[in-house]
Amino acid sequence: MCSTVCTRIAWKSRGSRVESERDGIAETLWRCGRCGTALVMRSVTVKYLAASFPVELPSCPTCRMTLVSEELARGRMAEVERIMEDK
């Protein structure tokens, strides 16, 4: 069911400064607090209500910890949450 929803609402990149990808290295000022490693873009699963879909987000390659930026949370993510709530 969700694959159609996902393709339509996937928000990858969209000119976001923080998540824009260059050679797999995420352009963000944040590093992992545990191991100090720079974050890389990685495909992670995002779930909401009855749907789940993959999204590329900056993560620590060692600890696998994922970062959601403020810009993404307040922007596209909030928008998609609203859309899915009205489905």
Partner: protein, 784 residues
């Protein structure tokens, strides 16, 4: 909501009924539309609207007997709107291309006997629908009684109307007399008239022919419906021939045109072999159910007309059109910014809600609409048919919850507040110190406990003086947010716990300070005996404590919306204020017609912008400071910059009470903290008990005022921020910016992930920012 419920609601809302002028018009000209067109100077539009009701626009605008003007509400105030003159100016100035027959030609032929307005109207309607029409007129010209006494003018108007109809398939034969008796007695009308075929006949010969027996007409009169059919299949009778009053004084050109049109409709249905009667109850003049409030309408003289023979010029016409009230009900929209905001009215809203609940494909576009009603019920108080949107919206919320389609974001802050207010940290249930039973138990309610913890102790002492020593105390929430959120399960759980507590206390009378608690207990737990604090205080006050009205400022009483149906509580509050020497003023909408502050029904969480508009609008209704008896209302007004005091301040604080009228209450995210502290303080001060170490201030977080406001706006509680930092520091699960030393961490205690940006400081942590999301993201720390 069942489809029958929807139909009932749609029937109950009368806004779609026509204004009195249109209902009284036998052909139902869209007079409101014509008036709007004239106001805009769009005369062609006006003429088009007019011509939809009848092609005889010249005849009607010159000679109509204007039943619309007799029905006009202005007729009772000054003088009816000059509708006929407005139509006339549209006809004169609004040039429109003539319409041709709009449908494909049909093979059937209809004979119309009689060339008066009734016959002509029927003939051209049928021709427009594609039927071949043969019209027979006994005289040497058509027009019938219209020509009587004004032949030249009537001829000119008729000619102007017939000219664009020349392309219609109507053949007119003058000088051929056919009477009803012939039609009735012949085997074949076609043979009688030398026609190849005749599929239906309309007799509209004008004069009543009482000598023609055996043609019973109007078999459907019983149902109040005229079909103009006779017992002879295919033979119809319309106009004066039916022997209705035909005295010259009562002859109505527009009625004749209407009869012709309605007879044509019957003939078409007969030829198509469908029901003659279905769906026709509003043909011809009828009584409208539309209500229009006329209070405040002042008399205005009709617009002047410099040249009566010519008619209005555009400016004169506009002036006359401006007088029109554009009759409409919309009583509910006048008092409810929520109903007004969504651009329509309850009849349409009911359909939207129904669609939202039954949608299988596509979006649920009415979710926000359903969730932002304050459920205050003011609409029902002002509605001429008592239509109440509150139960409609509430039932819709319950259905959405049951369907699993309630957006999680809609109510979870409020429901979490409820859960916390009824958790161990905030609830308290005690007999008075040293007592083993209670005659009464004081329930301040969760919002007063959060807003005015200081007042709770004072009131509790006051009640023990007033009601005797056996007055217990109960801190908890009544469960109202659960009801508002459509969560009957949570409401039942909350009420069950409350009931159990009251039973354990020996069923004392619950003295409630909050009108919402009173309302919930009264409706949802009537087995629990309850009384409002204000009635208790007013009953005990007596005349002795009356303070003479001094120079105290006048207060405007704001009745909380949940006190709408609690007249005794409202009276008690006023008695208390009078007794304490406060002069009061009544707001334009008060008592049973009071307005909500924007918090009711959880409007605030569904549409904060609207809730702010609601509170601002209410605040502006009086320049006086407000006095109210709901802690949430009080804080809402103060937050909106409107000085407001709680009635308990007016009683306890004397004239100085107003000094705190502008003081802000705790924010939404600070209320829980306040409740936790209140319980601890009361236990310590009244029962001499110490509560365990304060666990909720373990982590010190510093923030500036701007961030504090941002937290309030995003409904992020301080303890959620503390939980994120605690989790991050414990597990070292955070991101770090080496340049600034700032940390970014997340935690998901419930269905929300909180992200906090902070720096360690000497005595704790400095907060830099907070944001949240609801989606669950793989690899995000602190997930469930």
């Amino acid at each position: 909501m069942k489809s029958t419920d929807l139909a009932k609601l749609e029937e109950q809302c009368i806004q779609d009924w026509e204004p009195p002028c249109v209902a009284a018009c036998p052909v139902h000209v869209d007079i409101r539309g014509v008036v709007r067109a004239v106001r805009d100077g769009a005369f062609a539009t006006g003429r088009n609207l007019f011509a939809k009701a009848t092609p005889f626009v010249h005849v009607v605008s010159e000679f109509c007997d204007a039943p619309c003007q007799r029905a006009c509400h202005r007729a009772a105030i000054d003088q009816a709107i000059g509708v006929r003159e407005l139509e006339r100016v549209c006809v004169r100035l609004g040039a429109v291309p003539p319409a041709g027959p709009s449908r494909a030609a049909k093979t059937q032929t209809v004979v119309v006997i009689g060339g008066g307005l009734c016959g002509l109207s029927a003939a051209f309607d049928l021709a427009r629908k594609g039927y071949a029409v043969k019209l027979y007129e006994r005289g040497s010209e058509v027009g019938g009684r219209l020509l009587t006494g004004r032949a030249a003018a009537a001829r000119a108007a008729l000619a102007a109307d017939l000219e664009p109809l020349a392309r219609f398939p109507v053949s007119i034969r003058l000088g051929r007399s056919v009477d009803l008796a012939e039609v009735v007695s012949t085997e074949s009308v076609a043979a009688l008239l030398d026609l190849p075929a005749c599929d239906a006949v309309l007799v509209a010969t004008g004069t009543a022919d009482s000598s023609t027996p055996g043609v019973p007409v109007e078999a459907n009169r019983d149902e109040g419906l005229e079909t103009f059919a006779t017992d002879l299949p295919g033979v119809f009778l319309a106009g004066d021939v039916r022997g209705v009053d035909s005295s010259p004084a009562s002859w109505s050109p527009i009625a004749a045109i209407s009869e012709g049109r309605r007879a044509a409709t019957s003939i078409e249905r007969f030829l198509q072999k469908v029901s003659l009667t279905y769906g026709r109850s509003l043909e011809g003049p009828y009584e409208t159910r539309l209500f229009t409030d006329l209070s405040g309408v002042s008399p205005e003289s009709p617009a002047a007309m410099a040249d009566a023979a010519r008619g209005f010029d555009p400016d004169e016409a506009r002036a006359e059109a401006e007088r029109c009230l554009l009759c409409a009900c919309l009583e509910c929209l006048k008092v409810c910014p929520y109903l007004e905001k969504h651009g329509s009215y309850p009849r349409v809203y009911a359909r939207r809600i129904y669609n939202n609940l039954t949608v299988t494909k596509g979006n649920r576009t009415a979710n926000r609409f359903i969730n932002s009603c304050s459920l205050c019920g003011l609409c029902a108080e002002v509605c001429p048919t008592d239509l109440n949107m509150a139960p409609v919206c509430l039932e819709a919320r319950r259905t959405m919850v049951a369907q699993g389609k309630m957006p999680p974001s809609a109510h979870d802050f409020a429901l979490e507040e409820l859960r916390r207010a009824n958790s161990e940290a905030c609830t308290l249930l005690r007999h008075a110190p040293g007592r083993q039973k209670s005659t009464h138990v004081f329930m301040p309610g969760c919002q007063l406990a959060a807003s005015r913890p200081d007042a709770v102790a004072i009131l509790y002492a006051r009640l023990r003086e007033r009601l005797g020593p056996e007055v217990g105390l109960m801190l908890r929430c009544c469960g109202a947010p659960a009801e508002w959120a459509g969560r009957e399960d949570l409401l039942e759980t909350s009420l069950a716990a409350l009931r159990e507590g009251v039973q354990k206390m020996g069923n004392p009378t619950v003295v409630v300070a909050c009108p919402t608690c009173a309302d919930i207990l009264g409706r949802r737990a009537p087995d629990v005996t309850s009384v409002s604090l204000y009635e208790v205080l007013a009953a005990g006050a007596g005349a002795s404590s009356a303070v003479p009205a001094t120079s105290r400022a006048t207060l405007a009483v704001h009745d909380p919306c949940t006190a709408r149906h609690h007249a005794q509580m409202r009276t008690a509050v006023r008695d208390l204020l009078a007794g304490a020497g406060w002069p009061v003023e009544e707001l334009p909408l008060s008592g049973e017609r009071t307005e909500c502050c924007g918090f009711g029904g959880l409007m605030l969480y569904a549409d904060r912008e609207l809730a702010d508009e609601v509170v601002a609008r209410r605040a502006a209704r009086s320049p006086q400071p407000f006095v109210t008896y709901c802690a949430m209302c009080r804080d809402r007004y103060a937050a909106a910059g409107k000085p407001a005091i709680h009635v308990i301040d007016a009683l306890l604080g004397g004239a100085a009470a107003l000094e705190s009228a502008a003081a802000l209450g705790p924010g939404f995210v600070e209320r829980h903290e306040a409740r936790v502290r209140l319980k601890e303080e009361l236990l310590r001060d009244i029962w001499g008990e110490r509560v365990g170490p304060e666990h909720h201030t373990e982590i010190v977080v510093e923030m500036d005022e701007e961030l504090r406001r941002a937290l309030e706006e995003q409904l992020v509680r301080l303890d959620d921020v503390q939980a994120v930092i605690a989790h991050a520091e414990r597990s070292r699960a955070f991101f770090v910016d080496s340049a600034s030393g700032r940390r970014l961490a997340s935690y998901r205690p419930r269905a929300v992930t909180y992200w906090v940006q902070y720096s360690p400081a000497e005595a704790g942590y400095v907060l830099h920012g907070v944001y949240t999301h609801r989606m669950e993201v793989e690899g995000v720390e602190g997930g469930e």
